[in-house]
Subunit: 211 residues, 2 copies
């Protein structure tokens, strides 16, 4: 069994969405070996910092919260697609080249995993791409960007996907992962009432049994 | 594939270690559909609230931090042992009745999963029990308590286990899980420099293929 960690490390100077200060995680020491007998910290973090899952409430007033997420949607086989040569955005024309079926969880690997663009002009999924995936009846989509879209009107990619109950998994790191099928395990922290939550996402590949 | 969610829900009034106010998680709304176009929250949480993994730094000044944890130790087959009839504490005599081998990750299911005692006189693992597990060379131990010990001098259970690099997984919910072997997936949020981190722990059982 080979495990691929596809999550971001969480620290103050990590890349955050559009370099927004409010998205920086802060780790405070509450007890150390001088003030006490144990070391304990407290973390303050926006739910869209680092690797996380968006629930429908993020964009839809009547959307469900992250604690209502069915774990079967995020512990499932998935297909990683390599789009690292795509510039700008991923759209229908790119997705049409791949084998996508109803019930798939798909993961988009882009230039974002290679270049220092997460806080700037990162690759995203456009509206036509999102419509294509919705029509294909996928159950979830992951991307190696802190947002699945960048600056589109009315957050159209998010709204389209979340409106159909399609899981959005953001902030993946995919440099070490080849295009293939894997077992995805991406169960988020069960934060009651939240519109998103952090997750330590991994891909698992069953290795061939030696003869 | 059957998935068992063995994690606690995170909310302000959840059970916290010894009812300490500083351990209560606080979820603040940073943007909603009145103040903005999206709903976003920020979570403030002690790293020992809810289901979490302790790294050695929690008790040992030169101990490693949670970001150094090898995920192979927490994505692994595990053995759940049923100790729900044990009163007070789990010790060597109870563990001796079970089949424990070198390299095992073991999970202790106790009365804590059934009774409202998490904030009070919960069942814990005593020093003799911890010594027995260390000598068996296990790689990790999980328990359905917010602390693997309760009020022992010098945190002897923690220190003994963490000093050997044995993973401690706390805050499990095991009511729905029978004594058996499972695949454990308990990869914590990768908080750099922290002595512990929250995890959405699950057990996975491969179901028999129908004939």
């Amino acid at each position: 069994m080979k495990i691929y960690d596809i999550s971001m490390s969480v620290f103050y100077d990590m890349p955050v969405y559009k370099k927004k200060a409010a998205k920086r995680p802060v780790l405070n020491v509450e007890s150390d070996f001088i003030s006490g007998a144990v070391y304990e910290t407290k973390l303050e973090m926006n739910m869209h910092t680092g690797t996380h899952i968006d629930a429908p409430l993020h964009m839809l007033e009547d959307g469900y919260t992250i604690d209502k997420l069915d774990l079967k949607k995020v512990i499932t086989t998935c297909k990683v697609f390599d789009f690292k040569h795509v510039e700008g955005k991923i759209s229908q024309e790119h997705l049409e080249e791949k084998n996508i079926s109803a019930g798939d969880f798909i993961i988009l690997k882009t230039k974002n995993s290679y270049e220092d663009i997460l806080e700037g002009e990162f690759i995203y999924l456009d509206k036509q791409g999102a419509e294509y995936l919705r029509n294909k009846k996928i159950i979830g989509v992951g991307i190696d960007a802190l947002g699945i879209e960048r600056a589109q009107p009315n957050h159209e990619t998010h709204t389209l996907l979340l409106g159909e109950g399609i899981v959005i998994l953001e902030g993946l790191r995919l440099k070490e992962v080849e295009e293939a099928e894997y077992l995805l395990v991406a169960a988020p922290i069960n934060v009651v009432g939240a519109e998103a939550a952090p997750v330590r996402a991994v891909l698992i590949k069953q290795q061939a049994v030696p003869l």
